[in-house]
Symmetry: C2
Subunit: 306 residues, 2 copies
């Protein structure tokens, strides 16, 4: 079973979602696991608890998520902000983080310090305590993995799977073109998600990391729904096509659904609350097995192994 000469199926032949499901097949959960793999975060607690714990891990890797000449403070910001975005997508507040760093011994200390300064800036902004971590030697690229815990009130914990046919589908902000800079400087939508889950019944929510074209089908599938979107309505960043908005990825905006009758009041109050950040109703969730489910094949987002 040589790992180097691949005679069997490699990861290129596997979709990422399929891979994770396959790798974790047969794993069992103990008690207190409310949500396991497959949502933005794991949810830990007892059904009777008033608040639950959220757990998330994520990583950034040199030459995958950033180039060697990237500004080191931005690398640090991005590493932590990605994980915070997932806590936000559950309706939660981030709390405690651990940093695992693998780095070549030939790297400069001041470069690393600048990465940590970026982590600190993000941690301070979102009230996260860095409580530990581990360092290791890397034979090449820098790996920076963040484990993050959070808390969420049971009543505000929002999964991908709560969407219902007929729901209005919203996205925050503008999509596409993140590679030109936003992927380093984005603001996780914690405040917005906290406001949404406090004031409205949000049925399903996730953050957009692989592009709407990959992530909306995931939300719809988890909710056992289809969907229809109005492509020309998609909020796009400057110089972005509809295709960019669907497929570029790394938007770190919120994708969420709510009952149709809540859609207009929500949009109206949003404009007063977050006047600088657009909120766009991009479509609806539908029943499965309608014409819309075919549309799901027309969207494409980012697959990490494709």
């Amino acid at each position: 079973m040589s790992p180097r000469r691949a005679s069997g199926k490699t990861l290129r032949h596997f979709g990422e979602d399929h891979l994770i499901a396959d790798l974790l097949h047969g794993f069992s959960f103990g008690e207190n696991v409310i949500v396991g793999p497959g949502d933005d975060c794991a949810v830990i607690g007892r059904r009777s608890d008033r608040t639950w714990t959220l757990l998330k891990t994520d990583c950034v890797i040199e030459r995958v998520h950033f180039f060697p000449d990237a500004e080191p403070r931005k690398i640090g910001w991005k590493a932590l902000a990605r994980a915070i975005s997932d806590i936000a997508a559950m309706g939660g507040q981030p709390r405690h983080a651990l940093i695992t760093l693998a780095v070549s011994p030939d790297r400069e200390v001041r470069w690393l310090k600048a990465i940590y300064a970026g982590i600190k800036k993000c941690a301070d902004r979102f009230g996260v305590s860095i409580v530990g971590g581990e360092t290791a030697r890397s034979p090449g690229p820098l790996f920076l993995s963040i484990a993050l815990s959070g808390v969420v009130e049971k009543a505000r914990c929002t999964l991908r799977s709560g969407g219902r046919a007929g729901d209005a589908v919203f996205v925050t902000g503008r999509l596409g073109g993140s590679i030109r800079g936003k992927h380093f400087t984005f603001i996780p939508r914690v405040d917005e998600a906290r406001w949404l889950t406090k004031n409205f019944r949000i049925h399903a929510m996730m953050d957009l990391s692989d592009g709407l074209g990959a992530d909306l089908p995931r939300l719809a599938r988890a909710s056992n729904c289809g969907y229809q979107i109005e492509r020309e309505k998609l909020p796009r960043n400057p110089r972005c096509t509809v295709e960019n908005a669907l497929a570029d990825g790394e938007d770190y905006e919120l994708l969420f659904t709510t009952a149709a009758q809540d859609a207009e009041p929500l949009a109206s109050r949003w404009r007063k609350q977050f006047s600088q950040l657009p909120l766009t109703r991009i479509g609806v969730l539908t029943k499965l097995s309608t014409s819309s489910s075919r549309a799901s094949n027309s969207l494409r987002g980012f697959d990490h192994f494709a």
Copy 2:
């Protein structure tokens, strides 16, 4: 600030402990952080809680912690067992884990599945639920990071810093030569640490990952003590010198201290409870600034960047 051409100080010039302290300098903690960076795990909770949460992250990296031709099940076992060993060293029980995997798209799916089978074997044995994770593309080596939570009763939570001058110093098992195989197959000392913290007042404890020569000075320093060990008494694996026992690392045994008057009863009851696993009294903690503190410079363990 080019990361490639190092004109400034590189990590080779920094000790690992110094590096972490330096990187985290100025980071502040929120409430509920009982123990931050520097111990085997972070400890989260309120002083008034009866149980506290433990958080740990760790990683294994191809060509650093294992070679490409290593048996994949063992890679998986090792990745999780390392983190469990740190939970054990606090007196706790492991609970929920997240797996972050970065891997080249050209790797075989069955190789990855075998790694996860190793993780599952370890998770099942120690009652750990794998509740999520993330996959990413690696430009080269496999990188496998585990984030693990645990729980510990406040009264049994054992830090590195609780040692007192006069304490007896113990190690479990035998030291040295781990690279010949034990580093892949070791059993985290959860049962042993739970028994110790239930039946005795363990003042300070940690797991041996970088070798006694690096780890005992850390425990002594955290406890504000010196130490004296009887080198010829060190329990060694077959074909190991004293130097191997001090410096090879990856032993994953427990190092702990207890009041001198508890030492003999503890050793006696241990022999009945764990007849297959040696327990050795290797020395004492001393007051700082005695001749013993000079001895601390005569020990050497593993430095990840040296």
